[in-house]
């Protein structure tokens, strides 16, 4: 395929992916916004007022970055895993597999759909947070870069889950038993400095901790983790997951006999 043909093919996948989640916006866009708004009301307002400040920030201000990133992570992941597995289940993924589309284009097409939904929900949640807290972005660059990189990373993770999945149960196991616990334990609601030293060290093996802290740095200017460590970890995960996804597509794992 020529470059311009590849561009058209890529654009086709992105439009298709965006239309997919926009067509069912009541299922895809509204629930995460309502869920996070409830977190703001219950944890930020009601419980947070009893907790007091964390460092120089109110509890509400402290939890906003984590909750925004939680929405971004779960929606990027959910979009790719459900869309790709749905295509596998209905076998319409074969439309792409029989076409001259290179594997990397299929991959970045689906990832772009995940980024689009993740960012859309993340921005919506960020706007909702304005009803509860002032937003003074400390670093636009860090905020935007972490936002996009985290979305790429979890879109890739969703892709791998979808490739391996053999049933709809398989696409809910990882989000329920892995992603949600890691997100909650990644420092959304607390600073790891509040934990005993042993649990602080245990927390450091959770990759989501790095993302939440890097994003918190972008919004508030504070982080439990050095920013460079966070960027190295996120970038390394993206490279590894991208190469692995590409390998799975090339070998036809779960797609070809």
């Amino acid at each position: 395929m020529t470059f311009s043909e590849q561009y058209i093919a890529f654009k086709t996948i992105v439009i298709k992916e965006c239309l997919r989640f926009l067509r069912i916006w009541v299922q895809t866009l509204i629930p995460p916004i309502i869920t996070v708004a409830l977190y703001f009301v219950i944890f930020g307002n009601l419980v947070g007022s009893q907790i007091g400040n964390i460092g120089e920030f109110t509890y509400m201000e402290f939890i906003v970055p984590g909750l925004v990133l939680m929405a971004l992570i779960s929606n990027s992941y959910a979009n790719v895993v459900s869309s790709f597995y749905g295509s596998k289940f209905q076998r319409n993924i074969e439309e792409m597999l029989i076409s001259p589309l290179p594997n990397y284009l299929i991959l970045i097409g689906f990832i772009s759909g995940g980024i689009a939904r993740g960012v859309l929900v993340g921005v919506a949640v960020l706007l909702v947070s304005l009803f509860f807290s002032d937003l003074n972005i400390h670093s636009y660059t860090v905020t935007i870069v972490v936002f996009i990189l985290t979305s790429i990373l979890f879109s890739l993770a969703g892709m791998i889950n979808a490739i391996y999945a053999n049933s709809f149960d398989d696409i809910t196991i990882i989000p329920t038993f892995v992603l949600t616990p890691l997100t909650y334990l990644g420092g959304i609601f607390y600073s790891i400095n509040m934990l005993p030293e042993f649990w602080q060290n245990v927390s450091l093996i959770n990759p989501i901790l790095y993302m939440i802290n890097a994003f918190r740095y972008g919004l508030l200017g504070v982080s439990d983790i050095p920013l460079t460590h966070a960027f190295i970890i996120i970038t390394a995960f993206i490279i590894v997951l991208f190469m692995f996804s590409l390998h799975l597509l090339k070998t036809g794992k779960g797609l070809k006999h």
């Binding site: 086709t12 298709k16 439309e95 029989i98 076409s99 006999h257």
Partner: protein, 311 residues
Amino acid sequence: MKALSITNLHKTYPNGFVALKGVNLEVEEGDFFALLGANGAGKSTTIGIISSLINMTSGQVNVFGHDVLTDTSRAKACIGLVPQEFNFNVFEPLEEILINQAGYYGIPRHVAKQRAEKYLKQLQIWDKRREFARELSGGMKRRLMIARALVHQPRLLILDEPTAGVDIEIRRSMWEFLKQINDEGVTIILTTHYLEEAENLCNRIAIIDQGITKEQTDMKTLLSSLNNETFVLDLNTNDHALPSSVDGCEMQTIDSNTIEVTIAKTHSLNDLFKTLSDNGIDVMSMRNKTNRLEQLFMNVIDNKTTPLSDQ
């Protein structure tokens, strides 16, 4: 030029099942080619390998000279596939399914829209273009898959049982449409269990059995190899007795007004009619007991004939 060339194709599935044990096929450009075989013979596996949905174990497949393993992109660009099972997104409107499919081949959206309109109209489902695919009837779904396979204007169209479960009226309109696109230069490979369909449409034929090509020839040659035919005759005996035998024919009485006659191809039917007429019996109607191709197909599968390719 060869539209498709398959050499010594083997496929063993991970569970150890050997689906293909050396399939060889040659399809010329412009052919309307029937690929026949019983269920599980290896037709769909062969098609899956041609269209890159199944990895081959060994062998070589070239589509218009492009190797499907080493020149995959060009080979894929030549192929349009209508699979046996419905495999479109049932939650997408028809027009969008076609436009997306064209997009995967790098066809600009405005061109894709024109082609979608052309093929949806030709296949008489244009008025359903904004409806979700799940709302279509079975026949419409089949036609949607044909339209989708054509939207990038492939040089080789592969149809895996395209008329399965389709009523006779739609089937015949699909035949007309397929003949038309074949006349326009598209090479077509068709698998079907309706042997009448293969006999009416195809100029060449291959029969696969248990993963091996048993026969590959042109339709006329194959049909001419049939040595005898069996006819069912409905009679008005006018109260006369049926003749006990007719020269050159093998006769079997089904009931008082119906006989089954097997007659050698070299023998004239006139003798039969004359004998019946001389006995005061009128022939009211006559039909083939089985489709000629069906008879040949069974012969090949049962090893009752020497493959023409060996003659």
